[in-house]
């Protein structure tokens, strides 16, 4: 895990999910419950939905591309942290799958509907920070969402 995990936080939750698509709803429910505890969050329903969607898109990519949908015995290690100052939520995901080469990812052409290629676009559009690093045999993703107060 990166050093960002060690900053002062109110809550850290760790999940270890099998690398299959069938448990993604558990992750969504967990994120929804955590964000439901944040008081005075503006557009709570939209923020919660967006974070769930971004994290789910990333997990789907890990299952499909990093693990090539063939390694259900493998795991996705997820650390969710709610920080107080400044108020934000971070989600770190670690897997042992194939290296992610962003140069191979094409931006979707929004003028011409296509069937694939929206995952990373959605993740980057919905989160305030998205970083990827390869650490040894691990893929490490860091997603962060600022949690602004209701104005």
């Amino acid at each position: 895990m990166t050093s960002k995990s060690h900053q002062r936080s109110t809550n850290t939750i760790r999940l270890e999910l099998p690398a299959t698509l069938q448990y993604l709803s558990i992750l969504g429910a967990c994120l929804n419950d955590i964000l439901g505890q944040v008081r005075g969050l503006g557009e709570q329903e939209v923020v919660s939905y967006n974070v769930q969607l971004a994290v789910q898109e990333l997990c789907t990519n890990i299952v499909r591309h990093a693990y090539e949908e063939a390694k259900p015995e493998e795991r996705i290690y997820i650390t969710i942290t709610l920080y107080v100052h400044p108020r934000r939520l971070s989600v770190e995901l670690l897997d042992n799958g194939k290296f992610f080469d962003e140069s191979l990812v094409q931006e979707p052409d929004l003028e011409d509907s296509q069937i694939h290629g929206y995952g990373l676009f959605i993740i980057k559009s919905l989160m305030d920070e998205v970083t990827y690093t390869r650490q040894g045999q691990h893929n490490c993703w860091y997603l962060m969402k600022n949690l602004e107060e209701k104005s």
């Binding site: 698509l21 329903e45 939905y49 969607l53 789907t60 499909r64 509907s113």
Partner: protein
């Protein structure tokens, strides 16, 4: 995901509820392909009660659109009630790809 099918002669109304995501998208795609194989080419996708829609779910919906258009038909869509899901359809501009309608009765008659 819950899928309720209502058939009106040559138009299928697919009412979707719950999660339309990477786990359920193959099932949705397979069922809709089954109707196309039976000769149905007009669809109304009612997303009113969809609670969660990801890019794989969107891909399944676009797949129905493309396949129906290949057969000379089309797809009309009722947007989700949930504002967050509506925003994702707008972000990806799928609200411009599908013909958006307000209710399924009018949509069925309009084919």
């Amino acid at each position: 995901m819950e899928l309720i099918i209502t058939q009106h002669v040559d138009v299928v109304v697919a009412t979707l509820k719950g999660r339309i995501d990477a786990f359920y998208a193959p099932e949705l795609r397979e069922k809709m392909e089954g109707f196309i194989a039976q000769g149905i080419k007009h669809f109304v996708l009612d997303l009113t009660d969809v609670q969660f829609l990801d890019s794989a779910g969107l891909a399944a919906l676009v797949s129905v659109l493309k396949r129906s258009q290949q057969e000379g038909g089309g797809v009309k869509m009722i947007m989700p009630r949930l504002e967050a899901a509506q925003r994702i359809l707008k972000l990806t501009r799928f609200d411009k790809v599908f013909e958006i309608v307000d209710n399924s009765e009018l949509a069925v008659k309009s084919f």
